[in-house]
Symmetry: C2
């Protein structure tokens, strides 16, 4: 057992790396929503429907494959993209409100 | 209305950007799980518990703040991190099995 009264330098260093990756994640999500907002604006302009289930299926299948290659759980990557796509749809709805 | 028999070059260009961001997302997740697997191995070695609710609360609060600054929905970023943390815990369990 470790001495929990002392900071664990290995854990601290690994957590610092995770924090940097999480900051990158938030920035990446912000960049992605910036693009999807432009997609939403363009769809409204040309009269395309907000959601595109065929495109979503292709995206999810592609990400599943990429996740498998990266040794990630494919079910996890699918849930992740589903969460993001659902938020994109909500974001489009907010833009219209 | 757009002519749906013709490809929409604006939409295609924006979607190509989204695809690049999604590839980056998967790579980022792979990098993150690589680090959390090392965290898991270290915790097993020194006898620390797998989950650390206090650390999770700090992480989630920090990401919420960052998400607000990046004009993301804070509820979304919280769900995103919750999904990732839950997968980390499952990943630790798989490593022990």
């Amino acid at each position: 057992m470790s001495d929990r009264s002392q900071p664990d330098p290995i854990l601290a260093e690994l957590r610092a790396r995770i924090d940097v990756l999480d900051e990158t994640l938030i920035q990446l999500m912000a960049d992605r929503f910036e693009v999807t907002r432009r997609v939403g604006a363009h769809k409204r302009e040309v009269g395309l429907p907000k959601a595109d289930p065929a495109r979503e299926r292709v995206q999810i299948a592609k990400l599943r494959r990429m996740a498998e290659e990266a040794d990630l759980d494919p079910g996890f990557s699918e849930k992740l993209l589903r969460l993001i796509i659902d938020e994109v749809i909500r974001d489009y709805a907010r833009a219209e409100a």
